[in-house]
């Protein structure tokens, strides 16, 4: 009898955990089928498929987790999905947007316009592009600093990370990285930016204070050539203990000690893994596999793939609603 409160408490904790797991929803852009797949975080099954504009690629969650913003690249616009009704609406027209990120206050989006060599700054309330910043050739990666003062854009052909001051909308630094930089991700503490280089086969770690590359991380997978290892998506745990890097046609996600930069493991996933996303609690990683048309869910505590979820054609990336 005296153990009953403890038993009830345990039951309640288990119940809360189940509720938390059930509440998580994953949204995946499928760039060939022009859809977004909605995956239930508990069952890891697709529960709905939403038709969106053409070639959906980059995506980001609103700060209140009520809206998903996506780049409909071939429709030349940013679209919004209301996550309660799954209604799709146009936010603003902007040419060939590829990736987006959102300001810490949730009021602005920053989009790379691949064919126009621009970064567009979008006022979400006004539904307008308020400014454009010329950058290098084929801009792609977009990462807003946690303090909202800088945005880092990568340009695939110029092989640079461009650091844009969000006060002046001017480039304050151009940092040379290895060929075909794809993704720029800030650490939660704002101390570093990690940039993946698809052709270079490396990840450059940039110190935010000096805006200099302080480390280049390389990868080697037994049985694969260097050309098959093409770093793309990056995800870093909020405590900066672990980092994950999608290795494209190597069909693996690398696990890195984000303090020592040592590659600890390679997790086998689907074909041509591209965008990877941690859930907000950093307990799961979701990897979009462009050629096998599925998403691999990975348990971060065990570093094991737990399920492969079939989605639409050419899944590009994902976002998680807690």
């Amino acid at each position: 009898m005296k153990h009953r409160p403890i038993f009830l408490l345990s039951f309640a904790v288990v119940g809360l955990s189940a509720v938390a797991a059930r509440a998580e929803t994953i949204y995946v852009t499928n760039e060939k089928s022009n859809t977004v797949s909605v995956i239930d975080g508990q069952s890891l099954e697709v529960t709905k498929t939403v038709d969106v504009g053409q070639r959906p690629r980059g995506l980001v969650m609103s700060r209140d987790n009520k809206t998903l913003y996506i780049c409909a690249s071939d429709s030349d616009e940013i679209e919004a999905i209301d996550l309660d009704s799954l209604a799709v609406s146009s936010v603003v027209g902007t040419p060939d947007p590829e990736r987006i990120d959102i300001s810490p206050d949730g009021k602005f989006l920053f989009a790379s316009n691949e064919n126009d060599n621009l970064v567009s700054i979008i006022d979400l309330a006004a539904h307008t592009v308020t400014d454009t910043v010329p950058v290098g050739v084929e801009p792609e990666g977009m990462g807003v600093s946690p303090d909202g003062k800088l945005v880092v854009n990568t340009s695939e052909t110029t092989n640079m990370a461009h650091v844009i001051d969000l006060g002046s909308h001017k480039i304050v630094a151009n940092i040379l990285v290895d060929p075909r930089p794809r993704v720029a991700v800030w650490t939660r503490d704002g101390a570093q930016v990690w940039v993946s280089s698809e052709i270079g086969g490396t990840v450059s770690v940039i110190d935010a204070a000096t805006l200099a590359v302080i480390k280049k991380i390389s990868f080697a997978v037994e049985g694969l050539t260097a050309e098959q290892i093409q770093p793309e998506g990056i995800a870093i745990t909020p405590d900066r203990k672990l980092a994950f890097v999608a290795l494209g046609p190597a069909n693996r996600v690398a696990v890195i000690d984000a303090q020592t930069y040592e590659v600890k493991d390679y997790i086998l996933v689907g074909q041509r893994v591209w965008g990877i996303t941690l859930n907000p609690s950093a307990t799961r990683l979701y990897a979009a596999n462009g050629l096998s048309n599925d998403v691999t869910a990975i348990d971060v505590s065990t570093l094991e793939a737990i399920k492969s979820v079939p989605v639409g054609e050419e899944p590009w990336g994902s976002a998680v609603r807690p």
């Binding site: 760039e31 060939k32 053409q54 070639r55 071939d74 050739v137 052909t157 075909r180 698809e198 052709i199 050309e227 494209g248 046609p249 074909q271 041509r272 591209w274 462009g290 050629l291 050419e314």
Partner: protein
């Protein structure tokens, strides 16, 4: 005369977006970077020049697009080589105008390859 001029200008303005939309591009949905891409009218061997030479880095990476030169809409056989050393032939591909891309080739279509 003035009416004809206005009509000509109006027609030119109306035609401009159509020209822009008709830009012919190939979308590489295979797993590999393509280094050579040739098109010939279906069933012929009248191969075009290597279309990859149209690109600044002379190749088209996976998931990237490539501008096509002197290719009209129609049905084509497509011959390609990629960085993994594969040489592949894809027959009777529909090449269309008016969209963001004229045609794509995905990994599952590469069934006739040598290495």
């Amino acid at each position: 005369m003035q009416r004809a001029l206005i009509l000509a200008i109006a027609l030119a303005i109306a035609a401009a977006p159509a020209v822009a939309a008709d830009k012919m591009r190939f979308w590489n949905l295979t797993a590999a970077e393509i280094t050579e891409l040739y098109l010939a009218p279906a069933g012929t061997t009248q191969w075009s020049p290597n279309q990859c030479l149209n690109d600044s880095d002379k190749s088209v990476e996976a998931d990237e697009r490539l501008d096509l030169k002197d290719i009209a809409p129609g049905r084509y056989d497509v011959k390609l080589a990629d960085k993994t050393g594969r040489h592949c032939l894809v027959k009777d591909v529909a090449v269309k105008s008016g969209g963001k891309y004229a045609f794509s080739i995905s990994e599952k279509e590469l069934t006739d390859c040598t290495k």
